[in-house]
Subunit: 259 residues, 2 copies
């Protein structure tokens, strides 16, 4: 694809333009857009015209917004949509039984990317937001997904120098190996204060029809006095339901003993 004189590809320039919009900047003027995308105005305006032509951007007065068409295009074909549609009813069950934030996340590089979250207005601090990332080693979901990932992904994870995020973040590779073995043995992960000192994350893997741990289902409960046992049971129950909705037919006990 044709590259600009600065060497970045057209796709890269498009990414920078779309990336300029986020939850705090859902509408931008063309000048703000060029500045946030760090692109020359002329380049920005040219791309904006093409994006408007395809309804990927929308003009509202003098402001630009990401078009509904862009959301539609990406959502329709994304694996994320199938996963969250299968999971949502079961997440409601968990939220109803446990009474705390329930989240669904996938492993993406070194992060957990949260694709769904429900629950609100109670005590527990929950920093997992939809379409946001948290470092995998700082979340119960990230540890569960790494514990059930391929040996290759797991070794790459253990080779990284992991920053301590709170007093209880586990960063020692030998200790992490023990944690992964325990998660694989029990099928769940309970981690107090990995990122937020006053919260405990409880997570279980969600397996797809091929038996791959494609997502992690979690609740965030108060670190002191939170319903750990209830959470584990509710999550394990819901996870089986989601896996079944994804086409899993073999006994899940087998999967929990993998790899």
């Amino acid at each position: 694809m044709a590259n600009s004189s600065s060497g970045d590809s057209m796709v890269n320039r498009l990414v920078r333009i779309i990336e300029a919009f986020d939850a705090d900047h859902r509408s931008l003027s063309a000048a703000e857009l060029a500045r946030r995308a760090d692109l020359p105005s002329s380049t920005t305006y040219r791309i904006v015209e093409d994006l408007l032509g395809e309804s990927l951007l929308e003009r509202h007065g003098q402001r630009l917004r990401l078009g509904n068409r862009l959301w539609e295009l990406v959502s329709r074909g994304s694996p994320v949509l199938g996963l969250r549609e299968a999971a949502l009813p079961f997440m409601e069950d968990v939220q109803s039984v446990v009474g705390h934030h329930t989240a669904l996340g996938v492993l993406d590089g070194n992060d957990v990317l949260y694709i769904e979250r429900i629950g609100s207005n109670e005590m527990t601090t929950n920093i997992a937001q939809v379409a946001r990332r948290l470092p995998a080693h700082g979340t119960s979901t990230g540890l569960v997904l790494t514990a059930f990932a391929t040996a290759e992904v797991q070794e790459a994870f253990l080779r990284r120098r992991l920053p301590a995020l709170t007093d209880t973040t586990i960063t020692d590779p030998a200790e992490l190996r023990r944690v992964f073995a325990e998660i694989r043995r029990t099928g769940h992960c309970v981690m107090p204060g990995l990122i937020v000192p006053e919260s405990t994350g409880v997570a279980v893997p969600v397996f797809d029809r091929a038996g791959t741990a494609v997502a992690g289902l979690s609740v965030i409960i108060p670190r002191h006095g939170g319903p750990v046992a209830t959470s584990v049971t509710a999550l394990r129950t819901a996870s089986r339901g989601i896996s079944r909705a994804l086409g899993w037919h073999r006994p899940l006990g087998d999967a929990v003993r993998r790899p």
Copy 2:
């Protein structure tokens, strides 16, 4: 932006590539992708390489999928995310009280684009799926949103020749004007069998902080013996909650009497 010899822009070629993925084609080989996008293989492979470089596509063995990064990028900045996050808890309330499919849709051109749906496994046929479209004149949501749209949008709607989708689809402009006036007067819309003969759609508008009807909240109930009055009350109650979550502070009665 540089156009190819066939005159379509780079953005257009990207759209065709992303559009090749949908709910039935979440993973494609490069050859399938080129065929579905109707682009030369060489063009497709070049764009695919750039998309892989930005993690907007992911390679799984010999297959390509839309990357989680693409979903994240678009979701984070899209107005759709804020709307569905505000609405989801209230949609659960409606689903729980009414016991039928509850959907949230926005007007996009001549269509309703559904951005959220909850509920499942009961009698009513519901063809509104997330990230799918239905013709606006064939849905209670579309009629509600058009009734509360600007005069300009409404006149453009009435100038179109609307196809009859079932025996009860309203296509006559004079009759539609009466329907719109009635929707504005009552603040809701009850429409039997517009697309699916055995279902009735009930919808209300959701207003944002500026008092604009940004979305329609609906339930699909059985046409014969469905809980119409309960649905209207639950939807009106939930819609106020969503509007408040979106920052609306003035009495909603005012909005219902607009425009």
